[in-house]
């Protein structure tokens, strides 16, 4: 059947030179629409559900949303809290996003984040006092990355060697690692009468309020610069380097990657280890920038929310930073609107956004294709 022309009515483009630029623009437009539309649709849907919920509490949606904005982006303290939460979510979102690019689903950011924070806190306890922060920083980065990286490498190696599914292993490791950390803190390393480790001897990062007075009281700190740097590094790695090229090929078409001489097993374990390390760096936001010690449950939920951030951000560092800000806003906004409606309403909104994005990605794509096909036929 290979030799029969009538089987393949889709022939050559009639005049390649002119159609090329049109097709290029079209394909860029498709890429843009597919990247931006699903999150937008999700937000609109969340707003509609939010309206219904707010009305059911007998409140005015506009009043609640205004309160939500006033309490977050409307004042320096609220904005600082948003930035603080967004910082952690950026790390966990990048972690999940990197794994998604390699075709892997890391559900373990929750425990990787904790392990990274714990490792950094331990280094902080061991360091002598009075060392400048800039000298300590590389050590903290190594410790947090190593802590999270080890937790991430375990499912990676199990998958690469034995084909164990990374979703199962990362979920199970969350229980194991969090329980282990709790044991270590409560049995070995806690300050008497508390559930946290001793404070870092040196190298804590300054808060934003140290430079900008209005941020006073908010937890936002210089870790935010680390988050931005990490986002840039992940973007550079994924889209500029050869290794990133190979990693994305594994994520899209493992058979083609294998054909191209890429070790799929190697990429698998390295990607999960790197994903864990990035999540681990997220622990610095609390340990290095905010409280200066490790405490059980210091960022409960931030790992799981990272999955939503990565999905809404479409696995792209820029999208992830934006999505992290969105989810941080919702999370901080929940506290602000608590006077009018239960703050759990915001949890519902987050859930709607996640559900809508998760289901709308292929759906929106299909609708777009259908509309375009209809247009070109007509």
């Amino acid at each position: 059947m290979t030799s029969d022309p009538t089987l393949h009515p889709v022939g050559e483009a009639p005049s390649a030179a002119t159609t090329a630029s049109i097709e290029k623009r079209a394909s860029r437009r498709i890429a843009f629409e597919e990247a931006v539309l699903p999150p937008l649709v999700a937000l609109v849907l969340a707003a509609v559900v939010g309206d219904v919920l707010i009305l059911s509490f007998g409140q005015s949606p506009s009043a609640v949303y205004r309160l939500l904005l006033d309490g977050t982006w409307g004042n320096a303290y609220g904005f600082g809290q948003v930035l603080y939460k967004a910082t952690t979510l950026t790390f966990t979102g990048l972690a999940v996003g990197l794994s998604l690019r390699a075709g892997l689903f890391n559900i373990g950011a929750e425990s990787q984040l904790a392990a990274g924070g714990f490792a950094a806190a331990m280094v902080g306890v061991l360091l002598p006092a009075g060392i400048p922060a800039l000298l300590c920083l590389p050590l903290y980065l190594l410790a947090a990355g190593f802590g999270g990286g080890v937790v991430g490498a375990i499912p990676g190696v199990l998958k690469a060697r034995f084909g164990a599914h990374e979703v199962i292993v990362t979920i199970m490791l969350n229980f194991i690692v969090l329980a282990l950390l709790n044991y270590l803190v409560s049995a070995k390393f806690h300050v008497p009468d508390t559930l946290h480790t001793p404070e870092l001897a040196s190298g804590a990062l300054p808060r934003l309020s140290d430079f900008l007075e209005p941020f006073h009281g908010s937890a936002a700190n210089l870790t935010i610069l680390l988050a931005i740097a990490t986002a840039i590094a992940v973007g550079w790695y994924l889209f500029r380097t050869r290794r990133g090229f190979e990693l994305r090929a594994v994520g899209m078409q493992p058979a083609a990657a294998e054909y191209a001489g890429v070790s799929v097993a190697g990429v698998t374990w390295r990607a999960l280890a790197a994903s864990g390390a990035i999540a681990g760096l997220g622990g610095l936001n609390y340990v290095l920038g905010y409280k200066h010690y490790y405490e059980e449950g210091f960022a409960t939920g931030a790992g799981f929310l990272g999955i939503a951030v990565a999905l809404v951000g479409r696995g792209h560092p820029i999208g992830i930073v934006v999505a992290a800000l969105l989810f941080a806003t919702l999370s901080q906004g929940g506290l602000a609107v608590n006077a009018l409606v239960p703050k759990q309403m915001v949890d519902v909104l987050q859930a709607v956004v996640i559900l809508a994005v998760a289901t709308s990605v292929p759906e929106v794509r299909r609708l777009l294709r259908g509309a375009r096909a209809g247009a070109s036929r007509g």
Binding site: M1, S3, E12, Q253, A260, S263
Partner: protein, 515 residues
């Protein structure tokens, strides 16, 4: 029901079915008489399975009429087909491994006592059916414990249990050992003798001759021949299947171009394979101790029906599959080398499946043009975008890839142009041996000619070329020597002068085994 007057039990006329741009059936006809074993034969992709899925209600035809036992059933559903006694046994088993044979057979129409499954009654019913049909399987065994042949018997039992009088079997012997095949034939004959009607989809000619009463041959979505098995020769069937009257063989000069300029003296061997064995999924070995050598400037063509080990052979040579034996390229042993090491040593590979292996569809044309050589287009850790684009522009021009924009995703190109990306990339790299698997599959005529010319160019430059194609005309047109692969072995290696469709066709289908 008149028993002795043969009438069509199945009558399909002018069936069309397209999947997007690909037409699987184009005016296909089929007429099957009650109480016969009817072989539906044709090469892979000839549209046999599609036609039978339409008959069993899984697909709706785009056009054409369909009658079963004189009743117009065009566009019926699977449920209606089952109710009318049409059952299909699929190539891939659809059984629940953790349930017993009896439970699998009654699944969907369970015998119950109240709300409780009546296991005893189910087992008795299945045992009775087993005895009546000769399909012996212990009803209380778990399906997970069965051999492949037994599992297939369960599939047939399942279909019969639902009252099928017309049984469609899709390549039932693909996974069976020879004794299991013989048992299957006995069962089918006894079902036929009890008044059942059987349609057997196959591309193996020996099976057709052995078991069928009537043969329908399909090619490229059309019905091209219908004949009684009695009096039919494997050669005649093979001719109808591969259709040497069409395709490229009609162009005599085209064929001559392939073998002209070939030196009769045997030059030294550039690429040598000895006792290469590759494990298969079901069978003991997908490639069974294959040995051959290719000289510089020689094209060795492998003819064969798909699924006889060609895929595994090429992938083992490329390093994508583990094999044992020896692969020597220009004096260097490659058997343990990785894909990248082999590429760097001079192995170039056009994979048979461009959508799965040959291209990353969402990567741009430029990126796809360096796939497999990405480690050579770097500046430090990053890809050297400028060089990647320069490389792409020159190949796009040299290979006339359209549209000419290197930044379009490969997905946006037509099949022929996608294949040109793969061919351009593999021929532009520095290589000594080219593994070309189905290099023109699914591409239009213009691109086929172009790709053939490039392969001849590689030959003229003294490269060793291994050509695997399901298209016999292509193998004949390009190769200097032709190996016929069947059941994981080379059953014959012939010089081009001695090869013809009449000789190779039967060898391909295992109808004849040459020494």
């Amino acid at each position: 029901m008149p028993e002795n007057t043969p009438r069509p039990s199945i009558l399909l006329e002018g069936i069309d079915k397209s999947f997007g741009p690909v037409a699987a059936n184009r005016g296909a006809d089929l007429s099957v008489t009650t109480g016969e074993i009817h072989a539906l034969v044709g090469e892979n992709g000839a549209g046999k399975s599609t036609l039978m899925r339409i008959l069993s209600g899984m697909y709706a035809a785009d056009a054409g009429t369909m009658e079963v036992n004189g009743r117009d059933v065009s566009g019926w559903t699977t449920a209606a087909a089952i109710a009318a006694g049409v059952g299909m046994v699929h190539q891939h088993f659809m059984l629940v491994p953790t349930l017993t044979v009896a439970e699998n057979v009654v699944l969907g129409c369970e015998l119950t006592r109240g709300v409780v499954l009546d296991r005893v009654a189910a087992e008795d019913a299945v045992r009775a059916l087993s005895v009546r049909t000769g399909l012996n399987v212990p009803p209380d065994r778990l399906v997970a414990e069965l051999s492949v042949g037994e599992a297939q018997r369960v599939e047939i039992l399942k279909t019969l249990y639902r009252g099928a009088k017309i049984l469609i079997l899709d390549e039932p012997t693909a996974v069976l050992s020879p004794p299991e095949v013989q048992e299957l034939w006995q069962v089918l004959r006894s079902l036929r003798d009890d008044g059942g009607t059987i349609v057997l989809i196959t591309h193996k000619l020996d099976e057709v001759i052995e078991v069928s009463d009537t043969i329908t041959v399909m090619r490229q979505g059309r019905t091209v021949a219908r004949m009684a098995t009695h009096g039919a020769t494997p050669q005649a069937i093979a001719c109808a299947m591969v259709g040497r009257d069409v395709a490229l063989a009609g162009d005599a000069e085209y064929v001559r171009g392939g073998s002209s300029g070939q030196a009769s003296a045997v030059p030294s061997v550039l690429f040598e394979v000895r006792d290469l064995t590759v494990a298969g999924a079901r069978r003991a070995a997908a490639v069974d101790a294959v040995s051959f050598g290719i000289a510089p400037g020689e094209i060795l063509g492998i003819a064969g029906v798909e699924g006889n080990g060609q895929t595994e052979l090429v992938e083992a040579l490329a390093g994508l599959r583990r094999g044992t034996g020896s692969i020597v390229l220009a004096g260097r042993e490659l058997i343990g080398a990785s894909v990248r090491e082999r590429g760097d040593a001079g192995v170039s590979h056009i994979p048979e499946d461009r959508h799965e292996r040959g291209l990353v569809l969402d990567y741009s044309v430029a990126e796809n043009l360096i796939l497999g050589q990405q480690h050579r287009f770097v500046r430090g850790a990053t890809l050297d975008t400028r060089r990647v684009l320069e490389h792409a522009r020159s190949l796009i021009e040299a290979y006339d890839i359209r549209p000419t924009d290197p930044e379009l995703p490969a997905r946006a190109l037509s099949g022929g142009n996608q294949q040109k990306i793969v061919v351009a990339r593999e021929l532009a790299r520095d290589f000594t041996v080219l593994l070309a698997a189905q290099p023109t599959r699914g591409v239009d005529v213009g691109a086929i000619e172009f790709i053939h010319a490039r392969l001849r160019e590689a030959k003229a430059q003294g490269k060793a070329v291994l050509l695997v194609s399901a298209d016999l005309a292509e193998v004949l047109a390009l190769s200097d020597r032709i190996a016929v692969m069947y059941g994981g072995r080379f059953v014959a290696v012939l010089p081009r002068e001695k090869a013809s469709p009449d000789i190779i066709g039967p060898l391909m289908t295992g109808a004849e085994r040459a020494a």
